[in-house]
């Protein structure tokens, strides 16, 4: 054989044992596309160019169903007890090589570890799914312009959309209580605009000459296996609430005989009360109203109320700003905010009768 190339072709085929990593293609060639490969030969015989020969083959690209549901941000959604419309955010990507519909289901996790740690201890109420409207409102955030959906219609290939799972929190939840939610999307037949398409079945057994269907999705959360035309991800709500504790202390400021030097609690002595509100929760407590009835044996000293004072190592610093009010027998005042982890005080003085 005179052609050395013949023999090199054979070497090329034996070199197949070196497998390169499969390149990453997102959606790729549209399903149903026919790929035709044509080779041509030009040659001469006896120095005269002969007619060109060509050879072709073709095959049809089948349908690859692949999708991805991902939580956006990988942080828990903080919510307060009783909050309506607490929002978790997901992204759905159609990585199939055909436009498809996607059925959506948002469900509650029952027990177990939630997506961002902590144990699922409660269920959110009124769980809904919204699709981000990228034409109006705040894009990427849930707002009134977003559409309540149960499926996604005709999502074109290689396209990601943002979805919001919106839920209401029950009242009376403890700080750091966790509710996990799962968003699962399942590919459905596209091509019928405005209607959720039929379920998709994978082509089993013998291949057909036309467009076949291959499921190529990866496994999602527990219970969502690979190659089932659906994908899922978890997110969770973590309750962030204020946990308030109130302590009340008093000290004698002066008496009519010793004045401020080692004063005793005798009639006429002035007593200072400190009401301390400590917030050990994770959220600020706002508009904290303190109400304290002055005992009948004491007379309130007008103009002595100090609000929003601080405590150092359990001792009132007797600081703060004048404020509050007295309506016999109650001293009251509102502290605008007690931050998470902080302690704020209301202080007043009264005289022993």
């Amino acid at each position: 054989m005179t052609s050395k190339l013949t023999y090199m072709g054979v070497i090329g085929l034996t070199a197949l044992s070196s497998v390169a990593a499969t390149p990453a293609f997102a959606a790729g060639t549209t399903a149903g596309t026919t790929i035709t490969n044509t080779a041509t030969v030009d040659y001469q015989v006896g120095g005269v160019a002969q007619g060109q020969q060509s050879a072709s083959n073709n095959f049809t690209v089948d349908r690859k169903i692949n999708l991805l549901v991902e939580e956006v941000g990988t942080v828990t959604t903080n919510a307060v007890p009783g909050q309506t419309n607490a929002v978790t955010t997901f992204q759905l990507t159609n990585s199939s090589n055909e436009a498809l519909d996607f059925a959506l289901v948002a469900s509650q996790i029952v027990g177990g570890t939630a997506a961002h740690g902590g144990t699922d201890t409660f269920d959110a109420n009124n769980v809904r799914i919204y699709r981000d409207n990228i034409a109006t409102g705040t894009i990427g955030s849930w707002d009134a312009g977003d559409a309540l959906v149960t499926y996604i219609d005709e999502l074109v290939t290689d396209t990601a959309i943002r979805l919001f799972v919106v839920a209401d929190m029950p009242a009376g939840l403890a700080n750091n209580a966790v509710a996990g939610v799962t968003l699962r999307a399942t590919a459905r037949e596209g091509a019928l605009v405005g209607t959720q398409g039929a379920a998709i079945t994978e082509t089993t057994g013998a291949n057909t000459a036309g467009k076949d269907t291959v499921f190529a999705d990866t496994a999602g959360v527990t219970g969502d296996i690979a190659r089932d035309a659906s994908h899922s991800d978890n997110d969770d709500y973590t309750v962030q609430t204020a946990t308030l504790a109130v302590t009340k202390t008093s000290r004698v400021i002066s008496d009519p005989f010793n004045n401020i030097t080692n004063p005793k609690l005798i009639p006429g002595a002035v007593v200072e009360y400190c009401i301390a509100v400590a917030n050990s929760g994770s959220a600020d407590a706002t508009s904290v109203l303190i109400n304290d009835p002055v005992p009948g044996q004491l007379t309130f000293n007008a103009g002595t109320i100090l609000l929003n004072g601080t405590v150092t190592a359990g001792t009132c610093n007797a600081d703060g700003a004048a404020g509050g009010s007295y309506a016999a027998p109650n001293v009251s005042g509102t502290i605008a905010a007690v931050a998470a982890g902080a302690t704020r005080t209301l202080i007043f003085r009264a005289t022993v009768n």
Binding site: M8, I11, L16, T29, I35, A39, V41, Q53, A55, V214
Partner: protein
């Protein structure tokens, strides 16, 4: 004249018998599948292109034969890459490729591609638009051979 003589051989049916002509060419495509057996050893199988999805690796195999009565000289086989196939590699490192639609030919390592800023970068397999084998010696009467290259479904 050339157009009038244009013939499709083995069109659309991989593996069809070579047609009786001066030079016969047939063109096959296979899907390269890697399976891992219980022992963890990888096996490579070439399958007919029945189930093909984006990302699949393809092996194109060209068989040629000189069915004429005289040696065929200046023997050149040209294969434009289908638009939906990205070139991966050719079994024969000395095959010529084009990265500009068949205008210029050379070894992939010698070709460059213009950048938008006016500079040129080295050509990558993904840039290949055509592959060509130009034989130095005549194909004798009855001489046959096999050429191959690999691509990936875009």
């Amino acid at each position: 004249m050339r157009t009038a003589l244009f013939l499709l051989v083995a069109a659309f049916v991989p593996g069809q018998a070579l047609a009786a002509n001066q030079v016969a060419l047939d063109n096959n495509v296979f899907v390269e599948r890697v399976s891992t057996d219980a022992a963890g050893k990888q096996r490579i199988l070439l399958e007919e292109p029945k189930v093909v999805v984006p990302g699949d690796r393809l092996v194109f195999v060209l068989n040629y034969r000189n069915a004429g009565a005289q040696p065929a000289d200046k023997f050149v086989i040209t294969n434009p890459l289908p638009a939906a196939v990205r070139f991966a590699d050719a079994g024969d490192a000395r095959s010529l490729v084009s990265v500009d639609g068949g205008k210029q030919w050379g070894l992939l390592s010698d070709l460059t591609v213009p950048m938008t800023d006016g500079t040129r970068r080295a050509a990558q397999p993904a840039d290949v638009t055509h592959i060509r084998w130009a034989f130095q010696k005549p194909i004798p009467v009855g001489g046959t051979g096999k050429l191959m290259f690999r691509g990936v479904v875009k």
